[in-house]
């Protein structure tokens, strides 16, 4: 019993027991753990996976196999010999009582009797036993899912399982095989793809997965060989081909993956937060490449085929400045809207190609596809990363879990550790700080917020207004120069003024905004980042809105080929933005690095500001989207820009920057960026283009839509053409009844609204359910804590009571029987408690959380008790006491006692020293029992009383057989005790022949006593 000395507390008892079992099995571990690995369903030894309560339960199933096998194998396997008692003891000895009748296992019996002194042996054994850890390879190999099912299957068994506890090793092996078989069956039933996925998802080691897969495949091929036919063969081949194809596609995609090495390098040094900027950049690049391919393929190539050379008026030549301004030479090429013809191409053997329709549908298709891709990635990103994230869980786990395993740079790792430490400390101090803030401080903070927000919004509006006035100045100037029709370089350069100012605003004002964080004090650093993002977005979008307004209102009415003018303006903006981003990384990163390292050391090396840089990208992409109608080849510029930007930023990052101090929330930031890219950016660009297409009159002189009222009337004309052709009637019908009918849109929006409402309700329902389930888990935890507490208080009060009783009766009663009485009372108490706990734990828990180890220990104790009682009753009713029956019943009693003890007093080590010290070289079985009694006694009485009680027990030894009979009396008495407390006295006195028959509730006790008298009268 000294083995409990190393038990840490309630929770670990069962676990340590399973340790001992592990030791027992160690010689054969290889084979067992093999099957254990390969079979998560059928793992009967889930000793290691955190579900402590279940562990305790499964122990119940485990033990008999372990113990019995240890006996069975005792002769064959040398190492077992030394451990067999260990397993006996460590297992609460439950299996002993659960064994089949002795006639079936003579060797057991013999063994048992031969080991009369086993307690001494193994007590010392445990003292010397080195602590043995579970092999890590076997720990935690069982997934939650599988354990869940396991638990469910175990719970209903509960007490009924007692009868089955006499499982042999074979049984257990069978069960394991069974469960493994089930898993394999399950897998075989799946389709090939699902199966591969399912096997891959098993949290097991490679070997085990291989084993399972081998079995599945073997079974599969076996089945197949029986029912082979052409169709299945065909389908297998086809599916195999598809899978191969899919794998090859992934491979090709990976080979083509851009910048893989660079990405890894950046990630290794700066972590996932910074990497998300580069990923975003790459993603946008893909958008632009796609847009370029579409535009180039469907608009530009046909145009170039039919008109290989642009109509460039005389006197216009390429002067170099066009690269910046996009005007002049470029304005007559396919770069802009104006460069495309409106004719239906197709004379001279070429197939017909309607440029109007091609232009319209290409742009429309691109916009729709872009929108779909954005919505898809935004939604999936929201689902994965935002909705699930709990803002209430802002603390330590968030930080601990965000450790970047991909960071490989030694210096970066050190820096990260530093940052993490600082953040952990901050998170600790934050909790204290929140409560301390007085009202005046808070008011001051709100004032500051109000001021900064007013200031920032005012600045954004002011910038918008100034841009608008600049635009109007620009218009008047351009009109003047257009009148003169002289394209001097200076005038061309003057067009750069507007984009220069806009880009300057975009560069300077955000820097100014970032100064705000010096005066603002957000409780949460994340709020600060959000505030900066919102302000920047407001600024950028207000400027773009003003520009769009200007283009559509003024430019569209002033110039003859206004689409090309807008295209040029956008081109200039894109180019200027590019230059300023480069400047920005020079000033923002390089210069501040120089300043930080050389001049003002306190500033330090700048951090890479992911938010600001991503917002720059979003702004640039918005320009490209707006420009897609006016300048179909603008994506080319964008591609080049992003490509250069990638390398530029990478160099700037590695040379000038340090990783951001605040790690974490990178994933959420990414979601926010995608959302921003979608909402103000894409939606804004789309509405701008849609407005242009639907309402603005296209220019008369140039472009594919010249001469039409609106761009959209190209479709009208097409439909009118189709109307005459019978084959296309359905298109016309769709056009008239779907596209142009208000009722259709009305219905569609109505349906969508209804669906949104329904889904919203479902979401709210789920949220409620989550709250309830959470509450339930918390309640379960509270239940457990409550039960533990009750157990302890009961124990304490019982000790007090016992003391009182003892003082009263010390003189009158036989002391040894008092000791036993205590044991019995204790047992009874336990029965009550266990009754409580069994009713609460017998309910299967839907939450999937583990039952505590303590409660499982209690369960064990209870089960053992019950079983012991059953046996006692059985042996009691068999009137004569056969000599060979006593071991079984008394050992059952011992088990009960031990279990009792364990459940009651885990922490107090001194309790368990008792049996070690009190070895009595007497007849084995009663002495064992007595030792247990002593242990109980000690546990309950004070140290000084201990000596007092030991003597009487010694005196019992000569009449060993009597004491075993006495146990029976005790059993009987216990049942009788339900009625009244005075009955305590009766069984105690039942040792004296004249004290029989104290009450009607004591009939059983009397019967027992009489039997004792009959049988042992001779000896008396």
């Amino acid at each position: 019993m000294s083995h409990y000395n190393n038990t840490g507390g309630y929770n670990n008892t069962a676990y340590h027991d399973s340790d001992t079992l592990e030791i027992d099995r160690s010689p054969s571990r290889k084979s067992q753990s093999q099957s254990h690995h390969s079979n998560p369903h059928g793992n009967p030894y889930p000793r290691d996976d955190g579900a402590a309560g279940e562990r305790g339960r499964s122990d119940l199933l485990q033990l008999p196999g372990g113990v019995q096998s240890s006996y069975d194998d005792a002769q064959e396997r040398v190492p077992w010999g030394g451990w067999q008692e260990g397993s006996w003891r460590g297992r609460d000895s439950i299996p002993m009582g659960l064994l089949p009748p002795r006639s079936e296992s003579p060797r057991w019996q013999q063994h048992d009797l031969n080991h009369s002194g086993y307690q001494i042996d193994q007590a010392t054994h445990y003292d010397t036993m080195p602590p043995v850890r579970l092999p890590s390879a076997t720990s935690g190999h069982v997934s939650m899912r599988f354990r869940g099912s396991r638990k469910m299957s175990l719970f209903p068994v509960g007490e009924a399982a007692l009868g089955n506890l006499g499982l042999s090793e074979d049984d257990i092996r069978n069960e394991m095989e069974n469960e493994e078989h089930n898993l394999v069956q399950e897998l075989v039933a799946m389709s090939t793809r699902d199966r591969i996925k399912a096997i891959r998802d098993l949290p097991m080691s490679f070997d085990d997965k291989k084993h399972i897969r081998g079995q599945v495949l073997a079974l599969k091929s076996f089945k197949k060989s029986r029912q082979l036919n052409c169709f299945s063969d065909c389908s297998t081949t086809v599916s195999l081909a598809f899978r191969r194809c899919g794998a090859n596609m992934t491979l090709a995609r990976q080979t083509l993956e851009l910048w893989r090495g660079t990405m890894k390098e950046v990630e290794g040094k700066f972590g996932t937060g910074v990497l998300s900027y580069f990923k975003f950049l790459k993603w946008l690049l893909m958008f632009n490449i796609f847009s370029f391919l579409v535009n180039f393929g469907f608009i530009t190539i046909p145009q170039l085929i039919y008109h290989p050379t642009p109509d460039i008026p005389a006197g216009v030549s390429f002067r170099g400045l066009e690269i910046l301004t996009g005007a002049g030479y470029f304005s007559h090429t396919v770069m802009y809207y104006g460069g495309y013809s409106n004719k239906t191409q197709g004379t001279g053997g070429w197939p017909e190609y309607n440029m109007q329709l091609a232009y319209f549908f290409t742009i429309a298709a691109y916009m729709v596809l872009c929108g779909a891709a954005l919505i898809y990635s935004m939604a999936s990103s929201f689902r994965k990363k935002y909705v699930l994230a709990d803002s209430g869980l802002g603390g330590a786990w968030q930080l601990l879990c965000s450790w970047d395993f991909s960071v490989t740079n030694e210096k970066a790792v050190r820096q990260r550790k530093n940052n993490l430490r600082i953040q952990l400390k901050e998170s600790l101090s934050e909790k204290v700080q929140v409560a301390l803030l007085p009202l005046t401080e808070r008011l001051k903070h709100y004032g500051v917020f109000l001021g900064t927000w007013l200031l920032s919004t005012g600045m954004a509006l002011g910038c918008g207004a100034s841009v608008y006035f600049l635009c109007q100045y620009d218009t008047s100037r351009t009109r003047k120069s257009a009148d003169k029709a002289s394209g001097s370089l200076l005038e061309e350069a003057a067009t750069l003024l507007l984009p220069f100012v806009v880009s300057l605003i975009n560069l300077v004002v955000p820097l100014f905004y970032s100064l705000f964080k010096k005066i603002e004090h957000y409780s949460n650093p994340r709020m600060q980042v959000y505030a900066i993002i919102v302000r920047n977005v407001i600024l950028k979008m207000s400027i773009l809105a003003i520009l769009c307004y200007y283009w559509m209102k003024d430019v569209a009415n002033t110039f003859s080929c206004w689409e090309s003018i807008v295209g040029q303006a956008l081109y200039r903006l894109v180019i200027m933005d590019f230059l300023f981003v480069m400047l920005g990384s020079f000033f923002g990163e390089f210069l501040s690095n120089v300043i930080g390292t050389k001049c003002i050391q306190s500033l330090g090396v700048p951090e890479f500001d992911v938010a600001r840089n991503v917002l720059d990208l979003i702004y640039a992409q918005t320009l490209a989207w707006i420009g897609i109608y006016f300048s179909p080849l603008l994506p080319v510029i964008q591609i080049i820009k992003f490509f250069i930007l990638f390398y530029l930023k990478k160099v700037s990052l590695t040379q000038n920057c340090q990783p951001p101090r605040r790690a974490g929330r990178a994933a959420q930031m990414q979601t926010i960026f995608i959302a921003i890219l979608f909402f103000p950016s894409f939606v804004g660009a789309l509405s701008m283009v849609a407005y242009t297409v639907w309402t603005l009159p296209p220019s008369d002189k140039c472009g594919p839509f010249r001469g039409l009222n609106t761009t959209f009337s190209a479709i009208q004309i097409w439909m009118d053409d189709l109307n005459g052709v019978d084959a296309f009637q359905w298109t016309v019908w769709i056009y008239q009844h779907v596209i142009r009918s208000e009722i259709f849109y009305f219905l569609v929006s109505l349906i969508i609204l209804v669906f949104i409402y329904i889904f919203r309700q479902i979401t709210q329902g789920r949220q409620l359910l989550i709250i309830l389930l959470r509450q339930q888990i918390v309640n379960e935890g509270k239940d457990k804590a409550f039960l533990l507490e009750k157990l302890q208080t009961l124990q304490k009060s019982k000790q007090n009571k016992q003391k009182k009783k003892k003082q009263v009766r010390k003189r009158q009663e036989n002391e040894s029987s008092t000791g036993m009485q205590q044991a019995l009372i204790a047992r009874q108490r336990l029965e009550q408690e266990n009754g409580d706990s069994s009713s609460s734990f017998g309910v299967p828990m839907p939450s999937g959380h583990s039952v505590s180890t303590t409660s499982s220990a209690m369960m064990q104790a209870m089960l053992a008790r019950q079983y012991a009682e059953d046996q006692d009753v059985a042996s009691y009713r068999g009137v004569p006491f056969p000599a060979d029956q006593t071991p079984a019943s008394s050992s059952a009693l011992i088990q009960a006692m031990q279990a009792r003890q364990r459940a009651e007093s885990q922490n107090e080590d001194e309790f368990y020293r008792a049996p070690v010290q009190s070895q009595n070289p007497v007849n084995a079985l009663p002495s064992a029992m007595i030792q247990v009694m002593q242990a109980r006694q000690r546990a309950e009485s004070e140290q000084e009383e201990d000596e007092f009680y030991r003597a009487p027990i010694h005196s019992e030894h000569p009449v060993s057989s009597t004491s075993s009979a006495m146990i029976q009396v005790m059993q009987a008495r216990q049942r009788a005790e339900e009625e009244e407390s005075e009955c305590y006295r009766a069984p105690a006195s039942s040792q004296h022949p004249d004290a029989s028959g104290t009450g009607s509730a004591l009939i059983q006790a009397m019967l027992a006593r009489q039997q004792v008298e009959e049988e042992y009268g001779d000896r008396y």
Binding site: I199, R200, R213, A247, G395, F405, T408, V413, V778, H849
Partner: protein
């Protein structure tokens, strides 16, 4: 690349592909890197000792490197040595395409320093020490550590048994979206 492909064999390769989250290219790369570890001495050895695995630049500065080796090692000696298949297992669990469940399962085992199936106070303390640095001056003070651990338990110990078990851990993980992207090692 060609030579490694021939070394691995087509059947084996497809099996690896099927049982891990890795693509063919990644497996080949892994095999190349793995056989480089074995290069000079005995090539006939099946497993690489832990010291050599830890010399990989991807693992060299990882604070959990030893735990990672121990968790993924199937060696009977408990010395953290990895066979090629263990190595693939490791890369698979740390790959981009591994599921959250797999990742959190292995993260739990890596964080469970004493291998007892739950994250108790001791494990958490070791975890925090691992992440903040082991030396005396970088470590948190005992008071801070106590506070931190009680915060952690308060956050995640739903059934209030004083430890964080696997399901509680997975619950926490599912709510910290950065985990999937940061629990990653790419060769």
């Amino acid at each position: 690349m060609g030579t490694t492909a021939s070394q691995l064999g087509k059947d084996l390769l497809s099996e690896y592909q099927e049982l891990t989250f890795l693509t063919k290219q990644e497996i080949l790369l892994a095999h190349k890197r793995f056989s480089e570890l074995l290069s000079k001495e005995d090539r006939n050895l099946t497993s690489v000792p832990m010291e050599k695995v830890l010399s990989l630049p991807e693992l060299k500065s990882n604070p959990f490197r030893k735990r990672i080796c121990h968790v993924f090692s199937t060696s009977d000696m408990k010395d953290g040595s990895l066979t090629f298949e263990d190595f693939l297992d490791l890369l698979s669990a740390f790959s981009d395409s591994a599921t959250l469940e797999i990742k959190s399962h292995y993260a739990f085992r890596i964080f469970d320093f004493d291998d007892d199936g739950t994250l108790d106070g001791g494990d958490l303390e070791k975890l925090v020490n691992c992440l903040t640095g082991e030396t005396e001056d970088t470590r948190l003070t005992p008071e801070e550590m106590r506070q931190l651990i009680s915060n952690i338990l308060e956050e995640s110990d739903i059934d209030k048994d004083g430890t964080v078990n696997l399901s509680e851990f997975q619950h926490v993980i599912s709510r910290s979206p950065d985990f999937v992207s940061s629990f990653k090692i790419v060769l």
